[in-house]
């Protein structure tokens, strides 16, 4: 097969005509095609990102200019602020990061990259998307019920969340729990589907150690999610019982223990961090070799590191709870496991940097984002050590230092990893190229404003500024830090405005972008062997895989890339 072959019927419109017989309803709404479902996840996630981003803007405005009316929203009282802070976290983690990084890309990429025609259970796949859509609707509807939406923080610590008298929120918090339950159900179905597909439907020759890394990362994420969410579901059931059946699982006056929730929550919470982050790491691992025209450095070591990090993530949860009132002696073993987990991630980052060594690096937009991710991830990883060390944690816990840290890890996963993925696979998803110039403008604005927003958070955090306070000016010791809060807010607004460049690029490229060939980046993995966008059923003929995913600049081929499915005729015995 030659990659210069012009993508036949490559435009989205042509595909639509091609599949006209299914009808618009089945093609765009209740589609069982993994690619359409992936796109649906993407747009749902982007929509929810607008909601979550708006909440962030409300929050930042209130912090910089306390008790002034937020333009476009109005006055934010302390109760509303708690709602905003809670719903921002919940929306971003569960309804933006997971749908985009897992839902959209997992669905779109897994069958294409393993050489399958669709997921193992296409109808279950459709069901999982629509379940998530219902969950998003439930979450959004909680804004309008009497009593307002949940306001107990995204972690929902009881007793605050267990009794309505403490917050004044009644149905909002029940709906918040319900939205979680629906979201979990959706991703349980999704995760089972991902795993089954990858285990049973790989193309001939596609051994596990020939799988592209992003698939490994998606699968690890799916396993982590499946195995960690159970205790939180149990805890959510107990919390719901506390709220509606009058039990006292987490209320000490009735014999319960609030710490139990925290343990169950973080048993899920820490693996969940990797559920969100590993796919982003995977995108970057795909993008780096393509644009440095080199094999990914230490492919197997990255896989082993990922698995190690996944296993360790189940035994680090109490580092979120050093100061929670749990037995302080537990802090030492958990501090140790936390410290250990930095080793696999160090290997991952070093491998990414080593990939660049001796390469032939092209600074295309996806590559810029991938490099941005590596840099931001280094910062996030290093600031994590402050949090992970129990004594240093005493000062930085529950301050903006933590907020800065997890935005450098999680939000960089969405902003840099996610955008690397979107710019990289957009041609495959929609059959058109995105505008490079706008992409680069978007990147530079994002990288500048991202750092201007989140780096100063570490400084105010060291200064002692607590998370989740609505008005820093109420505290004497935070007065001097207020100019930084104003600076952060202005940068955050800049970061939000920078995303307009992306939205313009997205809209423009969808209708008027240059038509994409099959393999515009000259990449080696299987998805590039299909037309852009791939038709229903993906492959003209099911591919046969002969080698690993990152054969760039191999001495065996004259071009500097060697697709996984190209049969080489041996030159000499």
């Amino acid at each position: 097969m030659t990659e210069s072959a012009p993508g036949p019927a490559a435009s989205a419109h042509a595909t639509e005509v091609h599949h006209g017989e299914i009808g618009i309803w089945r093609t765009y709404i209740f589609s069982t095609d993994h690619k359409m479902i992936g796109r649906q996840y993407l747009f749902l996630g982007l929509f929810m990102a607008l909601v979550g981003g708006f909440l962030a803007y409300v929050m930042r405005w209130q912090l910089a200019f306390p008790d002034t009316a937020v333009p476009g929203f109005g006055f934010v009282g302390p109760e509303t602020y708690n709602v905003v802070v809670t719903m921002h976290g919940t929306t971003m983690v569960f309804f933006v990061a997971m749908p985009i990084l897992l839902g959209a890309f997992g669905n779109f990429l897994i069958p294409l990259m393993i050489g399958a025609r669709d997921m193992a259970f296409p109808r279950l796949n459709m069901l999982s998307f629509w379940t998530l859509a219902v969950g998003s609707l439930v979450l959004l509807s909680s804004f309008v019920v009497p009593g307002g939406a949940a306001s107990a923080g995204w972690t929902g610590y009881p007793p605050l969340s267990a009794r309505s008298i403490y917050t004044g929120v009644t149905w909002g918090l029940n709906l918040w729990l319900l939205a979680h339950a629906i979201e979990f159900a959706s991703f349980l179905m999704g995760g089972v589907n991902f795993l089954t597909t990858a285990i049973t439907m790989r193309a001939p020759g596609m051994t596990f150690f020939r799988l592209p890394l992003v698939i490994w990362q998606q699968l690890t994420a799916a396993i982590l999610f499946l195995l960690s969410v159970g205790p939180l579901i149990a805890a959510a059931v107990m919390l719901l019982m506390d709220r509606i059946a009058g039990t006292s699982f987490f209320v000490p006056s009735g014999g319960g223990d609030p710490l139990l929730w925290q343990h169950l929550f973080w048993f899920f919470g820490h693996p969940e961090v990797y559920v969100v982050m590993l796919p982003a790491v995977g995108f970057v691992a795909e993008v780096l070799p393509v644009f440095s025209r080199k094999p990914l450095f230490g492919y197997r070591w990255i896989i082993y590191s990922t698995i190690t990090a996944g296993i360790l993530s189940f035994v680090v949860w109490a580092h979120h709870m050093f100061l929670s009132g749990m037995d302080p002696r537990l802090a030492m073993p958990f501090s140790l496991t936390t410290i250990l987990i930095s080793v696999p991630f160090a290997i991952l980052v070093f491998a990414m940097i080593a990939t660049l060594w001796g390469g032939s690096i092209q600074f295309a937009t996806p590559m810029l984002y991938a490099l941005g991710f590596v840099a931001m991830f280094i910062v996030g990883g290093l600031t994590g050590i402050f949090n992970g060390s129990a004594p240093a944690n005493i000062q930085v816990h529950a301050t903006y230092f933590v907020v800065g840290h997890f935005h450098y890890t999680l939000l960089s996963g969405i902003f840099f990893g996610g955008f690397a993925g979107i710019y990289f696979w957009f041609p495959k998803m929609f059959g058109r190229m995105m505008n490079e110039r706008l992409g680069k403008i978007h990147f530079w604005l994002t990288v500048i404003f991202f750092n201007a927003t989140f780096f100063p958070m570490h400084l105010v955090g060291l200064g002692g500024m607590m998370r989740r306070i609505a008005n820093p000016l109420q505290y004497e010791f935070l007065q001097s830090l207020q100019p930084i809060n104003v600076f952060i807010t202005i940068s955050a607004i800049g970061l939000a405005l920078a995303q307009l460049v992306f939205l313009v690029n997205l809209g423009w490229s969808l209708v008027a972008g240059r038509k994409a060939e099959r393999n515009p980046w000259q990449a080696t993995t299987l998805e590039w062997a299909t037309p852009s966008p791939p038709p229903h059923g993906n492959f003209d003929a099911l591919p046969v895989v002969y080698r690993g995913p990152y054969e760039y600049s191999s001495p065996e081929a004259s071009e500097d890339w060697l697709p996984q499915d190209r049969l080489l005729v041996a030159r000499s015995g």
Partner: protein
Amino acid sequence: MKTHAATQAISGITPGKIAVWWFLASEVMVFGGLIGSYILARLGSAGWSAEAAHLSAPMAAINTFVLLTSSMTMVMAFAAVEKGNDRGLRTFLLLTILLGVAFLGIKAYEYSSHIMAGFTPSTGPFWSFYYTMTGLHALHVLAGIIINLSLFVMARGRLVNGHRVELAGLYWHFVDVVWIFLFPLLYLT
């Protein structure tokens, strides 16, 4: 677990079976989280045995018997469909469904007698756990009955294949296994 290098090594397993087992793995974590919490709460405070003594162990033993038997009929249904015995399939499915309904009936009777004796979910920690654990389990039994009913309806039109019965059976047996642990946890200690 994922280090099987060759596709061939696991091609004997159907996708459905792998999917159901993964689903059951996450279910183990749900019930495991609940049971673990119960054990921690119970060992961490006193006076739970006296509360547990209000439960009726004989009634629960009968219910255990019912559920164990339903597991057997479920697996017999699978054996029947594998032999192409449609009549046997329908008979055993129906038996399984009826036993499941019987289990829920006995459970409902237990609930009502506790509530009439004044033991509600808000009575104390033991009762909170009791109602939550058995309630969540009962919901699973209900879901299993619905699955089996749909298989039964399909079996009447001979649309059912052995694979589906096997998968439904995996779930049903899992629900049985959960009860095997709930029974001593709540009633016998």
